[in-house]
């Protein structure tokens, strides 16, 4: 298993290097230039100033040279400065990262909290009316455009009923935990509703397969209580596919949810990546994207390793 992990780690590293090269190249293919963007805001910036600023930010050198410079520095641990925020990249990433972890983490927990009981309930009574209803609700959740859902929630709960704040991270000034929770309520609700369907179906399918297995029938025949059958035996084997969704969602924890963050003006990683890409901020965009990718790939690896532990039937080459 150690050899397996080592080989996969090398593959991940190779993939990240390849991705960094690709992304740098793609960013270079974006139209315009950070300095041209600045010119839009202040048309009095003349040709001499444009040339000076471009030289200052190093934008007049060829793309490959800039990439190699970046790569060399990154390998030494220096991720460079964000041009948009005039700050070191890692310090620009910290706050949005924290915000995204809170947002995505809570909605993931909430969605799973909905998915587990619903999926189990649906799996225990296959083809019943309950099962049908839960199934339909899952499909509804998966089929809604997220930004539309966000807007409906804002209009109903914030503008209409006035129960919850429509946007932002926290009220200006002190705030406190209760205040942060209130501001999180609608974004978390949006993401939970949007994702719960997907998770529920996964859990339902996994539980159905697990419940149909032989060792469940054996346990029941031996007279074990139903709760023990479900919790101990079935859930254990159902955890394997569930680990898949956890792993798949890990990348999302770090890359944030762009649409939800935009609608709720929540400063998270999704919005940061979008702004960095649109603002041609190479250093920031690259660092954020690679970080999200690395997290996702490592989570995948962890999931694969977990299979080996959870399911004794699985062996590794």
């Amino acid at each position: 298993m150690l050899r397996f992990a080592a080989v996969r780690l090398i593959e991940i590293a190779a993939l990240l290097v390849l991705m960094s090269f690709l992304i740098y190249g793609l960013l270079g293919l974006m139209p315009g230039d950070p300095i041209d963007l600045m010119r839009q805001a202040d048309p009095r910036i003349g040709a001499a100033d444009v040339a000076r600023l471009k030289a200052l930010y190093g934008l007049d050198r060829p793309l490959l040279v800039r990439y190699l410079n970046w790569a060399g520095q990154a390998l030494q641990g220096d991720l460079g400065y964000s041009r948009l925020f005039a700050a070191p990249v890692w310090s620009t990433l910290l706050a949005p990262l924290g915000n995204s972890l809170v947002l995505m983490g809570s909605s993931f927990v909430a969605a799973l909290g909905l998915a587990l009981p619903l999926g189990v309930a649906a799996a225990r009574r296959p083809s019943s009316r309950l099962d049908g209803a839960i199934n339909l609700a899952c499909f509804a959740s998966v089929s809604l455009p997220t930004f539309w859902l966000a807007l409906v929630l804002i209009l109903v709960f914030a503008a209409g009923l006035g129960w919850l704040p429509a946007s932002g991270l926290a009220a200006a000034g002190a705030g406190g935990v209760a205040d942060r929770l209130r501001h999180l309520a609608l974004p978390v609700a949006t993401l939970t509703l949007a994702n719960a369907g997907f998770y529920t179906r996964y859990v339902r399918a996994a539980m159905r397969d697990a419940l149909a297995q032989d060792h469940i029938r054996t346990a029941r025949a031996k007279g074990a209580r139903e709760a023990r059958v479900i919790l101990h035996h079935a859930l254990r084997s159902a955890l394997i596919p569930v680990t898949t969704i956890v792993a798949l969602s890990f990348g999302g924890l770090v890359s944030g949810a762009l649409v939800t963050e935009t609608m709720f003006a929540y400063p998270g990683m999704g919005k940061l990546i979008y702004d960095a890409v649109m603002g041609n901020d190479y250093n920031l965009a690259l660092a954020a994207l690679l970080f999200a990718a690395a997290t996702a790939l490592l989570a995948n690896l962890a999931a694969d390793l977990a299979y080996g532990w959870l399911d004794p039937r699985v062996t590794y080459r």
């Binding site: 963007l37 600045m38 444009v50 914030a158």
Partner: protein, 559 residues
């Protein structure tokens, strides 16, 4: 029952959470001692001289005083100085620089009571420091042209200084771009000029009161979300009206409207808020609960015509295009008449405006006859053709994602189609349009806007040497490619003409020439919509690019 053990705990947790959420709702404040402003952009940097950004100017309008600005009546006023230098009060002295060039020496005095937020007075040391930063090529100051024109500064005492400017223009007294940096704080950050933009206190320590000399100082920065401002204790001007001002950035305009309705924000800034048609729709649906102010401004929406295209090189075609547009109807139906139809690039509120420029009322018959005269005939098909069989068709471009412009585009397309002109709409993101397409002049027609200052001589937009091409690094803004020796002469003369009456004649001539030749089709002057709560008064939209927040001390909350 199986599984019962799990749920009660979960149920209790959910109940507790619900109570916490709903119980925390704030009651509506009876006293309006705080104000929350909603804007659509968050200022990424706060240093006044690095990176030009509308959101930054808006926030800094409350915290930093520039020397001079144009106020809501479009007059030049002194904010940080005591008197405007003029030739009459002899604070402005013309200087002969030799070989026919004239410069000017301007003497300003900083207000004696001006202090930074930490009590240190604003002095000429700050002036010299800011000048040093502005002139340094490595400091990343965006608009260094202003500093290059100042050849030197003489300091008389702590508050008085004289600028030596290398060119005498009619607006010599306006040093609106001169926003002072606090030398006592920033000098150490500027030790290495190349690192200044990273080490400036505006980034590392933005809540330091010593960075601000206006009525307010920034007390909290939540990047990407909001800014908090509190009164500056050392401010000696009119008292700040609010105990606290919060500026929240919400980029999505639908969410901005929802926040307004839910009371999370009190007002929407016109400079950075809803577009005019969104504001009109909002006004119609919810205007009873708010005060909506519309102010036409200096943003001149127009359609640039590429004069190198054979069809557009003919003035008759250009005039026909304008006759074929019912701009009054567009303004009335799309903008409830709130956006004034433009006849040239000069705003009617501008002092240089003259009323007798050629007008182009909606006249499709005249348009058709002009097109016929120019050699474009219907020939039985829907699209006009000329003798060589070319069809009269153009590509119309504008900034993608700007809904108002997209709406107008589609109206233009359908109106011109009635004249037999085929229009294909090709929109591009702003970055592409302004970064590449316009400078390289790869367009037929492009709809966008200029933002200018009052009495802004159109040198970069209409002068013949400012046509962007490979020779000047594609830096000019005369994108139609307008070459007129008469216009060049007028521009040169207007810049240095000090006599207001003579200047008026020059401006009138410029407008007449522009309206006859039509290098661009004037559409309208964009209005900004300010959505204010009923209890707020004293907000005077300026209509120019200087934000309303510069006059925050005039705002009042009626209980």
């Amino acid at each position: 029952m199986p599984g019962r053990g799990r749920f009660p705990l979960l149920g209790r947790l959910v109940c507790a959470l619900a109570v916490a959420l709903l119980a925390g709702s704030p009651g509506r404040a009876a006293q309006h001692d705080s104000l929350t402003i909603g804007v659509t952009q968050f200022p990424a940097t706060l240093n006044p001289d690095i990176d030009a950004m509308a959101a930054k100017s808006y926030v800094l309008g409350m915290t930093l005083r520039p020397f001079t600005v144009y106020d809501a009546d479009w007059r030049l006023v002194c904010l940080l100085c005591t008197r405007l230098p003029s030739l009459d009060n002899r604070l402005a002295v013309p200087v002969d620089l030799g070989s026919g060039k004239k410069g000017v020496e301007l003497t300003y005095q900083i207000r004696p009571d001006a202090k930074w937020g930490d009590g240190v007075p604003v002095t000429t040391a700050d002036v010299l420091f800011t000048y040093q930063v502005g002139r340094d090529p490595q400091s990343a100051v965006a608009n260094a042209e202003f500093y290059r024109r100042i050849t030197s500064i003489d300091v008389k005492d702590d508050k008085t200084f004289t600028l030596h400017v290398d060119k005498l223009t009619f607006d010599y007294a306006a040093i609106n771009d001169f926003v002072l940096l606090p030398a006592h704080l920033e000098r150490e950050a500027f030790a290495d000029p190349a690192q200044y933009r990273v080490r400036t206190h505006y980034r590392t320590d933005p809540t330091n009161p010593g960075l601000y000399n206006g009525p307010y100082r920034i007390s909290e920065v939540a990047t990407g979300s909001h800014l908090l401002l509190e009164p500056n204790p050392y401010w000696t001007g009119p008292p700040p009206p609010f105990r606290r001002i919060s500026v929240r950035a919400i980029e999505n305009t639908a969410a901005l409207q929802a926040n307004l309705l839910s009371g999370a924000i009190d007002m929407v800034a016109g400079e950075l808020g809803l577009s005019i048609d969104e504001a009109l729709a909002f006004d119609k649906a919810h205007g009873g609960a708010f005060r909506v102010l519309y102010k036409p401004g200096l943003t001149y929406e127009h359609v640039d015509l590429n004069l190198d295209r054979p069809a557009l090189a003919d003035r008759r075609v250009r005039q026909a295009l304008l006759y074929g547009l019912d701009r009054a109807a567009i303004s009335n139906s799309l903008f409830a008449g709130r956006q004034q139809v433009a006849d040239s690039f000069v705003n009617p509120l501008d002092s240089g405006f003259t009323g007798d420029t050629p007008r182009y009322p909606y006249d499709p018959a005249r348009a058709a006859s002009l097109l016929d005269a120019a050699g474009w005939h219907p020939q039985g098909g829907a699209v006009r053709r000329n003798a060589q069989g070319d069809s009269l068709s153009f590509e119309l471009m504008t900034t993608a994602g700007n809904r108002t412009r997209e709406l107008v585009e589609q109206v233009l397309q359908s109106e011109w189609r009635k004249l037999g002109i085929d229009i294909r709409i090709k929109n591009e993101p702003a970055r592409v349009l302004f970064g590449e397409t316009l400078p390289h002049r790869n367009f037929d027609m492009a709809m966008y806007a200029w933002i200018s200052a009052p009495e802004d001589v159109p040198r970069s937009t209409l002068y013949s040497t400012e046509i962007p091409n490979a020779a000047n690094g594609f830096a000019g803004q005369n994108t139609p490619g307008f070459k007129s020796p008469a216009m060049d002469r007028l521009i040169d003369a207007a810049e240095i003409e000090l006599d207001p009456a003579k200047r008026q004649t020059l401006w009138a001539e410029m407008q007449r020439l522009y309206a006859t030749e039509l290098p661009s089709l004037p559409l309208y002057f964009r209005s900004d919509a300010f959505i204010l709560p009923k209890w707020l008064s004293g907000v005077r939209p300026t209509g120019n690019q200087y934000p309303t927040t510069l006059w925050i001390t005039d705002w009042k909350a009626q209980p």
